[in-house]
Symmetry: C2
Subunit: 261 residues, 2 copies
Amino acid sequence: MDIAILSIGNEVVKGRTVNTNASEISKAMIENGHQVKYILTCMDEPTDICDSLKFLTERSDVIITSGGLGPTVDDLTIRAISECLNLKLVINSDAEKELRKRYNDLGLDFTEERKKMAYLPEGAEPIQNHYGTAPGIFLKHNGKLIFSTPGVPREMRGMLAQILKILGKGNLNYISRDMKVYGIMESTIAPLEREIMEKFQNKISVKSHPESMEFKDPVLTIEIYGYSKDNDLEREIEGAMEMVRQHVVQLGGRLEEKEKS
Amino acid sequence: MDIAILSIGNEVVKGRTVNTNASEISKAMIENGHQVKYILTCMDEPTDICDSLKFLTERSDVIITSGGLGPTVDDLTIRAISECLNLKLVINSDAEKELRKRYNDLGLDFTEERKKMAYLPEGAEPIQNHYGTAPGIFLKHNGKLIFSTPGVPREMRGMLAQILKILGKGNLNYISRDMKVYGIMESTIAPLEREIMEKFQNKISVKSHPESMEFKDPVLTIEIYGYSKDNDLEREIEGAMEMVRQHVVQLGGRLEEKEKS
Protein backbone atom coordinates (compact mmCIF):
# COMPACT_ATOMS: atom_id res chain seq x y z
CA MET A 1 0.00 0.00 0.00
CA ASP A 2 1.12 3.54 -0.76
CA ILE A 3 1.49 5.58 2.36
CA ALA A 4 1.65 9.32 2.98
CA ILE A 5 2.69 11.05 6.17
CA LEU A 6 1.12 14.29 7.37
CA SER A 7 3.05 16.09 10.10
CA ILE A 8 0.92 18.72 11.81
CA GLY A 9 2.46 21.43 13.98
CA ASN A 10 3.65 25.02 13.76
CA GLU A 11 6.87 23.99 15.51
CA VAL A 12 7.77 21.65 12.64
CA VAL A 13 6.87 24.14 9.90
CA LYS A 14 8.92 26.84 11.68
CA GLY A 15 11.96 24.59 11.82
CA ARG A 16 12.01 24.59 15.62
CA THR A 17 11.47 20.82 15.56
CA VAL A 18 13.33 18.77 12.97
CA ASN A 19 10.89 16.21 11.56
CA THR A 20 12.39 12.98 12.92
CA ASN A 21 8.88 11.54 13.40
CA ALA A 22 8.27 11.41 9.65
CA SER A 23 11.59 9.63 9.05
CA GLU A 24 10.83 7.08 11.75
CA ILE A 25 7.34 6.39 10.45
CA SER A 26 8.62 6.09 6.89
CA LYS A 27 11.41 3.65 7.81
CA ALA A 28 9.00 1.48 9.80
CA MET A 29 6.54 1.32 6.91
CA ILE A 30 9.21 0.43 4.34
CA GLU A 31 10.67 -2.25 6.60
CA ASN A 32 7.20 -3.77 6.70
CA GLY A 33 6.75 -3.98 2.96
CA HIS A 34 4.95 -0.72 2.23
CA GLN A 35 6.02 2.25 0.15
CA VAL A 36 5.92 5.89 1.29
CA LYS A 37 5.10 8.51 -1.33
CA TYR A 38 4.86 11.89 0.40
CA ILE A 39 5.64 13.66 3.64
CA LEU A 40 3.69 16.88 4.10
CA THR A 41 4.07 19.26 7.02
CA CYS A 42 1.43 21.86 7.74
CA MET A 43 0.53 24.29 10.51
CA ASP A 44 -2.09 23.84 13.25
CA GLU A 45 -4.75 25.40 11.03
CA PRO A 46 -7.93 23.49 10.15
CA THR A 47 -7.97 24.74 6.53
CA ASP A 48 -4.34 23.78 5.97
CA ILE A 49 -4.89 20.38 7.59
CA CYS A 50 -7.88 19.75 5.33
CA ASP A 51 -6.11 20.89 2.16
CA SER A 52 -3.17 18.66 3.07
CA LEU A 53 -5.37 15.68 3.82
CA LYS A 54 -7.14 16.03 0.47
CA PHE A 55 -3.84 16.29 -1.44
CA LEU A 56 -2.58 13.13 0.23
CA THR A 57 -5.75 11.03 0.06
CA GLU A 58 -5.86 11.65 -3.71
CA ARG A 59 -2.36 10.17 -4.01
CA SER A 60 -2.09 7.35 -1.47
CA ASP A 61 -4.04 4.59 0.25
CA VAL A 62 -3.00 5.26 3.81
CA ILE A 63 -2.40 8.56 5.60
CA ILE A 64 -0.58 8.66 8.92
CA THR A 65 -0.73 11.98 10.73
CA SER A 66 1.33 13.04 13.72
CA GLY A 67 0.79 16.02 15.99
CA GLY A 68 -2.12 17.98 17.44
CA LEU A 69 -3.88 15.37 19.58
CA GLY A 70 -3.45 16.80 23.08
CA PRO A 71 -5.72 18.70 25.47
CA THR A 72 -4.74 22.27 24.51
CA VAL A 73 -6.48 24.74 22.23
CA ASP A 74 -3.89 24.36 19.46
CA ASP A 75 -4.41 20.58 19.41
CA LEU A 76 -7.02 20.59 16.69
CA THR A 77 -6.08 17.73 14.37
CA ILE A 78 -9.07 15.54 15.27
CA ARG A 79 -11.58 18.34 14.88
CA ALA A 80 -10.00 19.45 11.60
CA ILE A 81 -10.09 15.91 10.17
CA SER A 82 -13.75 15.47 11.23
CA GLU A 83 -14.82 18.75 9.65
CA CYS A 84 -12.78 18.09 6.53
CA LEU A 85 -14.43 14.70 5.96
CA ASN A 86 -17.88 15.87 7.05
CA LEU A 87 -17.89 13.49 9.98
CA LYS A 88 -19.49 14.30 13.31
CA LEU A 89 -17.18 14.53 16.30
CA VAL A 90 -18.55 12.06 18.83
CA ILE A 91 -17.44 10.93 22.25
CA ASN A 92 -15.90 7.48 22.19
CA SER A 93 -17.07 5.63 25.28
CA ASP A 94 -13.98 3.40 25.52
CA ALA A 95 -11.65 6.38 25.26
CA GLU A 96 -13.74 8.39 27.73
CA LYS A 97 -13.83 5.56 30.25
CA GLU A 98 -10.07 5.05 30.03
CA LEU A 99 -9.25 8.77 30.33
CA ARG A 100 -11.74 9.35 33.15
CA LYS A 101 -10.25 6.45 35.09
CA ARG A 102 -6.68 7.67 34.67
CA TYR A 103 -7.49 11.17 35.99
CA ASN A 104 -9.87 9.96 38.73
CA ASP A 105 -7.26 7.49 39.99
CA LEU A 106 -5.09 10.51 40.76
CA GLY A 107 -8.00 12.30 42.45
CA LEU A 108 -8.27 14.76 39.56
CA ASP A 109 -11.42 16.15 37.94
CA PHE A 110 -12.33 15.01 34.44
CA THR A 111 -12.36 18.56 33.04
CA GLU A 112 -13.50 19.66 29.58
CA GLU A 113 -9.87 19.82 28.40
CA ARG A 114 -9.37 16.23 29.50
CA LYS A 115 -12.67 15.06 28.05
CA LYS A 116 -11.76 16.71 24.73
CA MET A 117 -9.30 13.89 24.06
CA ALA A 118 -12.14 11.32 24.05
CA TYR A 119 -13.86 12.90 21.04
CA LEU A 120 -13.19 11.05 17.78
CA PRO A 121 -14.61 11.39 14.27
CA GLU A 122 -17.72 9.25 13.87
CA GLY A 123 -16.69 5.71 12.92
CA ALA A 124 -13.11 6.05 14.15
CA GLU A 125 -11.53 3.67 16.63
CA PRO A 126 -9.13 4.84 19.33
CA ILE A 127 -5.52 3.66 19.31
CA GLN A 128 -4.08 3.20 22.76
CA ASN A 129 -1.44 5.65 23.96
CA HIS A 130 0.93 3.67 26.18
CA TYR A 131 3.32 6.57 26.73
CA GLY A 132 0.97 9.51 27.09
CA THR A 133 -2.63 10.56 27.40
CA ALA A 134 -4.39 11.38 24.13
CA PRO A 135 -5.49 8.28 22.19
CA GLY A 136 -4.70 8.04 18.50
CA ILE A 137 -7.35 7.32 15.89
CA PHE A 138 -7.91 4.77 13.15
CA LEU A 139 -10.49 5.69 10.56
CA LYS A 140 -11.65 4.09 7.31
CA HIS A 141 -13.06 6.66 4.93
CA ASN A 142 -13.91 6.30 1.23
CA GLY A 143 -11.57 3.36 0.85
CA LYS A 144 -8.66 5.14 2.53
CA LEU A 145 -7.15 4.41 5.92
CA ILE A 146 -6.35 7.36 8.15
CA PHE A 147 -4.30 7.05 11.32
CA SER A 148 -3.59 9.90 13.71
CA THR A 149 -0.80 9.78 16.26
CA PRO A 150 0.51 12.36 18.75
CA GLY A 151 3.52 14.53 17.90
CA VAL A 152 5.54 13.55 20.97
CA PRO A 153 8.01 11.02 19.50
CA ARG A 154 7.69 8.53 22.37
CA GLU A 155 3.89 8.53 22.07
CA MET A 156 3.93 8.30 18.26
CA ARG A 157 6.43 5.42 18.43
CA GLY A 158 4.20 3.58 20.89
CA MET A 159 1.39 3.61 18.33
CA LEU A 160 3.45 2.52 15.31
CA ALA A 161 3.35 -1.17 16.26
CA GLN A 162 -0.44 -0.99 16.61
CA ILE A 163 -0.74 0.69 13.20
CA LEU A 164 1.51 -1.91 11.56
CA LYS A 165 -0.64 -4.65 13.08
CA ILE A 166 -3.75 -3.13 11.48
CA LEU A 167 -2.01 -2.59 8.11
CA GLY A 168 -0.41 -6.02 8.00
CA LYS A 169 2.74 -6.82 6.04
CA GLY A 170 3.00 -5.24 2.61
CA ASN A 171 4.22 -7.25 -0.39
CA LEU A 172 7.25 -5.14 -1.23
CA ASN A 173 10.68 -6.40 -0.35
CA TYR A 174 12.98 -3.42 0.12
CA ILE A 175 16.74 -3.91 -0.22
CA SER A 176 19.33 -1.15 -0.03
CA ARG A 177 23.15 -1.29 -0.17
CA ASP A 178 25.68 1.50 0.25
CA MET A 179 29.07 1.72 -1.42
CA LYS A 180 31.46 4.53 -0.59
CA VAL A 181 33.57 5.76 -3.48
CA TYR A 182 36.67 7.91 -3.07
CA GLY A 183 38.38 9.90 -5.79
CA ILE A 184 35.68 9.87 -8.51
CA MET A 185 33.47 12.83 -9.32
CA GLU A 186 29.69 12.47 -9.35
CA SER A 187 29.62 13.73 -12.95
CA THR A 188 32.15 11.02 -13.88
CA ILE A 189 30.10 8.20 -12.43
CA ALA A 190 26.80 9.56 -13.78
CA PRO A 191 26.87 7.54 -17.06
CA LEU A 192 27.34 4.31 -15.06
CA GLU A 193 24.30 5.15 -12.95
CA ARG A 194 22.25 5.59 -16.10
CA GLU A 195 23.61 2.31 -17.48
CA ILE A 196 22.66 0.38 -14.32
CA MET A 197 19.16 1.81 -14.24
CA GLU A 198 18.66 0.98 -17.93
CA LYS A 199 20.08 -2.53 -17.55
CA PHE A 200 17.77 -3.34 -14.66
CA GLN A 201 14.82 -1.60 -16.31
CA ASN A 202 14.22 0.76 -13.44
CA LYS A 203 13.68 -2.07 -10.97
CA ILE A 204 16.83 -0.84 -9.27
CA SER A 205 17.55 2.75 -8.38
CA VAL A 206 21.02 4.17 -7.99
CA LYS A 207 21.60 7.42 -6.16
CA SER A 208 24.90 9.07 -5.46
CA HIS A 209 25.05 11.19 -2.32
CA PRO A 210 28.05 13.55 -2.53
CA GLU A 211 29.86 13.89 0.77
CA SER A 212 32.42 16.41 -0.33
CA MET A 213 33.16 18.80 -3.17
CA GLU A 214 33.11 17.58 -6.79
CA PHE A 215 36.40 19.32 -7.57
CA LYS A 216 38.53 18.43 -4.56
CA ASP A 217 38.96 14.92 -3.16
CA PRO A 218 35.45 13.78 -4.15
CA VAL A 219 33.69 11.29 -1.87
CA LEU A 220 30.35 9.75 -2.84
CA THR A 221 28.05 7.27 -1.18
CA ILE A 222 26.46 5.22 -3.93
CA GLU A 223 23.13 3.85 -2.80
CA ILE A 224 21.72 0.92 -4.76
CA TYR A 225 18.21 -0.08 -3.84
CA GLY A 226 14.93 -1.41 -5.02
CA TYR A 227 11.46 -2.55 -4.04
CA SER A 228 10.36 -5.89 -5.39
CA LYS A 229 7.56 -8.42 -5.18
CA ASP A 230 9.79 -11.27 -6.41
CA ASN A 231 13.00 -12.89 -5.26
CA ASP A 232 15.31 -11.59 -7.99
CA LEU A 233 16.06 -8.30 -6.26
CA GLU A 234 18.97 -9.48 -4.10
CA ARG A 235 20.73 -10.97 -7.14
CA GLU A 236 20.10 -7.92 -9.29
CA ILE A 237 21.41 -5.56 -6.66
CA GLU A 238 24.54 -7.71 -6.41
CA GLY A 239 24.87 -7.44 -10.22
CA ALA A 240 24.60 -3.66 -10.03
CA MET A 241 27.18 -3.54 -7.24
CA GLU A 242 29.57 -5.58 -9.36
CA MET A 243 29.21 -3.00 -12.16
CA VAL A 244 30.13 -0.26 -9.69
CA ARG A 245 33.14 -2.25 -8.42
CA GLN A 246 34.55 -2.76 -11.92
CA HIS A 247 33.93 0.83 -12.93
CA VAL A 248 35.58 2.28 -9.83
CA VAL A 249 38.72 0.17 -10.40
CA GLN A 250 38.88 1.20 -14.08
CA LEU A 251 38.66 4.86 -13.10
CA GLY A 252 41.33 4.54 -10.45
CA GLY A 253 39.02 5.24 -7.53
CA ARG A 254 38.83 3.50 -4.18
CA LEU A 255 35.83 1.64 -2.79
CA GLU A 256 34.54 0.88 0.69
CA GLU A 257 31.56 -1.41 1.04
CA LYS A 258 29.43 -1.35 4.11
CA GLU A 259 28.31 -4.59 5.71
CA LYS A 260 24.81 -5.67 4.81
CA SER A 261 22.41 -4.12 7.27
CA MET B 1 5.61 36.84 1.90
CA ASP B 2 4.31 33.34 2.49
CA ILE B 3 6.88 30.73 1.75
CA ALA B 4 6.65 26.99 1.05
CA ILE B 5 9.48 24.52 0.99
CA LEU B 6 9.58 21.57 -1.41
CA SER B 7 12.14 18.89 -0.53
CA ILE B 8 12.77 16.54 -3.44
CA GLY B 9 14.50 13.20 -2.97
CA ASN B 10 13.68 9.54 -2.46
CA GLU B 11 16.19 9.46 0.42
CA VAL B 12 14.16 12.02 2.37
CA VAL B 13 10.79 10.36 1.69
CA LYS B 14 12.25 6.99 2.72
CA GLY B 15 13.46 8.40 6.02
CA ARG B 16 17.10 7.68 5.17
CA THR B 17 17.82 11.41 5.37
CA VAL B 18 16.17 13.43 8.13
CA ASN B 19 14.98 16.70 6.60
CA THR B 20 17.29 19.18 8.32
CA ASN B 21 17.41 21.27 5.13
CA ALA B 22 13.77 22.23 5.44
CA SER B 23 14.22 23.27 9.08
CA GLU B 24 17.25 25.39 8.20
CA ILE B 25 15.51 27.10 5.29
CA SER B 26 12.43 27.75 7.42
CA LYS B 27 14.38 29.26 10.30
CA ALA B 28 16.35 31.52 7.95
CA MET B 29 13.15 32.78 6.30
CA ILE B 30 11.41 33.49 9.61
CA GLU B 31 14.46 35.30 10.98
CA ASN B 32 14.27 37.53 7.92
CA GLY B 33 10.64 38.54 8.39
CA HIS B 34 8.86 35.97 6.24
CA GLN B 35 6.38 33.27 7.19
CA VAL B 36 6.63 29.62 6.16
CA LYS B 37 3.35 27.77 5.50
CA TYR B 38 4.19 24.29 4.23
CA ILE B 39 7.02 21.82 3.90
CA LEU B 40 6.34 19.11 1.32
CA THR B 41 8.65 16.21 0.59
CA CYS B 42 8.25 14.20 -2.61
CA MET B 43 10.17 11.58 -4.55
CA ASP B 44 12.39 12.09 -7.61
CA GLU B 45 9.41 11.62 -9.92
CA PRO B 46 8.43 14.35 -12.41
CA THR B 47 4.67 13.84 -11.83
CA ASP B 48 5.04 14.02 -8.06
CA ILE B 49 7.27 17.10 -8.31
CA CYS B 50 4.70 18.80 -10.55
CA ASP B 51 1.74 17.91 -8.32
CA SER B 52 3.67 19.19 -5.30
CA LEU B 53 4.67 22.40 -7.03
CA LYS B 54 1.05 23.09 -8.00
CA PHE B 55 -0.22 22.43 -4.46
CA LEU B 56 2.35 24.86 -3.06
CA THR B 57 2.08 27.63 -5.66
CA GLU B 58 -1.67 27.77 -5.01
CA ARG B 59 -0.97 28.43 -1.32
CA SER B 60 2.16 30.57 -1.12
CA ASP B 61 4.07 33.35 -2.87
CA VAL B 62 7.51 31.81 -2.83
CA ILE B 63 8.56 28.17 -3.28
CA ILE B 64 12.05 27.05 -2.34
CA THR B 65 12.99 23.58 -3.51
CA SER B 66 15.98 21.53 -2.45
CA GLY B 67 17.35 18.39 -4.04
CA GLY B 68 17.75 16.91 -7.51
CA LEU B 69 20.07 19.41 -9.19
CA GLY B 70 23.15 17.29 -9.87
CA PRO B 71 24.58 15.54 -12.95
CA THR B 72 23.02 12.09 -12.45
CA VAL B 73 19.94 10.57 -14.04
CA ASP B 74 17.86 10.86 -10.85
CA ASP B 75 18.59 14.58 -10.63
CA LEU B 76 15.51 15.69 -12.51
CA THR B 77 14.13 18.64 -10.53
CA ILE B 78 14.94 21.24 -13.19
CA ARG B 79 13.44 19.23 -16.02
CA ALA B 80 10.35 18.42 -13.94
CA ILE B 81 9.79 22.10 -13.05
CA SER B 82 10.23 23.15 -16.70
CA GLU B 83 7.76 20.57 -17.98
CA CYS B 84 5.32 21.31 -15.18
CA LEU B 85 5.25 25.03 -15.98
CA ASN B 86 5.38 24.51 -19.76
CA LEU B 87 8.71 26.24 -19.99
CA LYS B 88 11.42 25.21 -22.45
CA LEU B 89 14.63 23.90 -20.99
CA VAL B 90 17.38 26.12 -22.42
CA ILE B 91 21.10 26.28 -21.94
CA ASN B 92 22.14 29.24 -19.81
CA SER B 93 25.29 30.70 -21.30
CA ASP B 94 26.62 32.07 -17.99
CA ALA B 95 26.10 28.74 -16.26
CA GLU B 96 27.61 26.84 -19.19
CA LYS B 97 30.67 29.11 -19.33
CA GLU B 98 31.27 28.75 -15.60
CA LEU B 99 30.84 24.97 -15.59
CA ARG B 100 32.95 24.46 -18.73
CA LYS B 101 35.75 26.53 -17.22
CA ARG B 102 35.73 24.61 -13.93
CA TYR B 103 36.02 21.22 -15.65
CA ASN B 104 38.48 22.40 -18.33
CA ASP B 105 40.74 23.93 -15.68
CA LEU B 106 41.19 20.40 -14.34
CA GLY B 107 41.84 19.05 -17.85
CA LEU B 108 38.46 17.29 -17.90
CA ASP B 109 36.00 17.01 -20.78
CA PHE B 110 32.76 18.93 -20.62
CA THR B 111 30.59 15.82 -21.00
CA GLU B 112 26.83 15.68 -21.51
CA GLU B 113 26.32 14.91 -17.79
CA ARG B 114 28.30 18.02 -16.88
CA LYS B 115 26.58 20.17 -19.49
CA LYS B 116 23.19 18.98 -18.16
CA MET B 117 23.66 21.24 -15.14
CA ALA B 118 23.72 24.35 -17.37
CA TYR B 119 20.16 23.80 -18.62
CA LEU B 120 17.60 26.02 -16.87
CA PRO B 121 13.90 26.67 -17.46
CA GLU B 122 13.44 29.53 -19.95
CA GLY B 123 13.54 32.84 -18.07
CA ALA B 124 15.30 31.45 -15.00
CA GLU B 125 18.52 32.90 -13.64
CA PRO B 126 21.28 30.73 -12.20
CA ILE B 127 22.19 31.01 -8.51
CA GLN B 128 25.87 30.49 -7.85
CA ASN B 129 26.94 27.33 -6.07
CA HIS B 130 29.97 28.24 -3.96
CA TYR B 131 30.28 24.82 -2.34
CA GLY B 132 29.48 22.49 -5.20
CA THR B 133 28.87 22.26 -8.92
CA ALA B 134 25.23 22.49 -10.02
CA PRO B 135 23.89 26.06 -10.03
CA GLY B 136 20.57 26.82 -8.37
CA ILE B 137 17.74 28.59 -10.18
CA PHE B 138 15.62 31.66 -9.59
CA LEU B 139 12.45 31.86 -11.62
CA LYS B 140 9.50 34.26 -11.68
CA HIS B 141 6.37 32.58 -12.94
CA ASN B 142 2.77 33.82 -12.84
CA GLY B 143 3.53 36.16 -9.97
CA LYS B 144 5.25 33.47 -7.90
CA LEU B 145 8.94 33.19 -7.13
CA ILE B 146 10.54 29.77 -7.42
CA PHE B 147 14.02 29.01 -6.15
CA SER B 148 15.77 25.65 -6.55
CA THR B 149 18.76 24.66 -4.46
CA PRO B 150 20.77 21.43 -4.25
CA GLY B 151 20.02 18.83 -1.59
CA VAL B 152 23.55 18.72 -0.19
CA PRO B 153 23.19 20.84 2.98
CA ARG B 154 26.46 22.76 2.48
CA GLU B 155 25.47 23.69 -1.08
CA MET B 156 21.88 24.60 -0.10
CA ARG B 157 23.18 26.76 2.76
CA GLY B 158 25.54 28.56 0.41
CA MET B 159 22.57 29.66 -1.70
CA LEU B 160 20.32 30.79 1.17
CA ALA B 161 22.05 34.16 1.54
CA GLN B 162 21.63 34.79 -2.18
CA ILE B 163 17.93 33.89 -2.00
CA LEU B 164 17.40 36.15 1.01
CA LYS B 165 19.08 38.98 -0.88
CA ILE B 166 16.63 38.56 -3.76
CA LEU B 167 13.61 38.27 -1.43
CA GLY B 168 14.59 41.21 0.78
CA LYS B 169 13.50 41.59 4.39
CA GLY B 170 9.90 40.65 5.15
CA ASN B 171 7.74 42.86 7.36
CA LEU B 172 7.00 40.30 10.07
CA ASN B 173 8.78 40.56 13.38
CA TYR B 174 8.96 37.08 14.91
CA ILE B 175 9.46 36.75 18.67
CA SER B 176 9.47 33.47 20.59
CA ARG B 177 10.10 32.76 24.29
CA ASP B 178 10.33 29.43 26.10
CA MET B 179 9.32 28.75 29.69
CA LYS B 180 9.92 25.35 31.24
CA VAL B 181 7.25 24.23 33.70
CA TYR B 182 7.73 21.38 36.16
CA GLY B 183 4.97 19.61 38.06
CA ILE B 184 1.90 20.76 36.12
CA MET B 185 0.03 18.59 33.63
CA GLU B 186 -0.63 19.81 30.11
CA SER B 187 -4.37 19.28 30.63
CA THR B 188 -4.17 21.47 33.77
CA ILE B 189 -2.50 24.37 32.00
CA ALA B 190 -4.73 24.08 28.90
CA PRO B 191 -7.38 26.60 30.11
CA LEU B 192 -4.63 29.20 30.69
CA GLU B 193 -3.37 28.72 27.15
CA ARG B 194 -6.87 29.34 25.83
CA GLU B 195 -7.17 32.44 28.07
CA ILE B 196 -3.89 33.90 26.80
CA MET B 197 -4.79 33.33 23.16
CA GLU B 198 -8.22 34.92 23.70
CA LYS B 199 -6.77 37.88 25.62
CA PHE B 200 -4.25 38.64 22.88
CA GLN B 201 -6.77 37.96 20.14
CA ASN B 202 -4.68 35.31 18.44
CA LYS B 203 -1.78 37.70 17.89
CA ILE B 204 0.13 35.49 20.28
CA SER B 205 0.29 31.72 20.10
CA VAL B 206 0.97 29.49 23.05
CA LYS B 207 2.08 25.91 22.58
CA SER B 208 2.98 23.44 25.26
CA HIS B 209 5.52 20.80 24.30
CA PRO B 210 5.33 17.89 26.77
CA GLU B 211 8.74 16.55 27.66
CA SER B 212 7.59 13.73 29.91
CA MET B 213 4.47 11.81 30.82
CA GLU B 214 1.28 13.66 31.82
CA PHE B 215 0.74 11.39 34.83
CA LYS B 216 4.21 11.19 36.34
CA ASP B 217 6.44 14.20 37.07
CA PRO B 218 5.11 16.27 34.16
CA VAL B 219 7.54 18.64 32.41
CA LEU B 220 6.36 21.05 29.74
CA THR B 221 8.07 23.64 27.62
CA ILE B 222 5.62 26.47 27.11
CA GLU B 223 6.39 28.33 23.93
CA ILE B 224 4.93 31.82 23.58
CA TYR B 225 5.39 33.43 20.20
CA GLY B 226 3.95 35.67 17.58
CA TYR B 227 4.51 37.39 14.25
CA SER B 228 3.79 41.07 14.13
CA LYS B 229 4.05 44.08 11.87
CA ASP B 230 3.95 46.53 14.80
CA ASN B 231 6.04 47.13 17.93
CA ASP B 232 3.56 45.86 20.53
CA LEU B 233 4.57 42.23 20.24
CA GLU B 234 7.46 42.27 22.72
CA ARG B 235 5.23 43.85 25.39
CA GLU B 236 2.34 41.49 24.73
CA ILE B 237 4.57 38.45 24.93
CA GLU B 238 5.89 39.73 28.26
CA GLY B 239 2.24 40.09 29.41
CA ALA B 240 1.50 36.51 28.41
CA MET B 241 4.62 35.27 30.19
CA GLU B 242 3.51 37.08 33.35
CA MET B 243 0.19 35.22 33.18
CA VAL B 244 2.07 31.93 32.99
CA ARG B 245 4.31 32.91 35.92
CA GLN B 246 1.34 33.70 38.18
CA HIS B 247 -0.56 30.60 37.14
CA VAL B 248 2.37 28.27 37.74
CA VAL B 249 2.91 29.67 41.24
CA GLN B 250 -0.81 29.32 42.07
CA LEU B 251 -0.78 25.70 40.95
CA GLY B 252 2.33 24.89 42.96
CA GLY B 253 4.53 24.22 39.93
CA ARG B 254 8.09 25.30 39.30
CA LEU B 255 9.29 27.52 36.46
CA GLU B 256 12.54 27.90 34.57
CA GLU B 257 12.86 30.72 32.08
CA LYS B 258 15.39 30.58 29.31
CA GLU B 259 17.44 33.63 28.46
CA LYS B 260 16.16 35.61 25.51
CA SER B 261 17.73 34.23 22.37
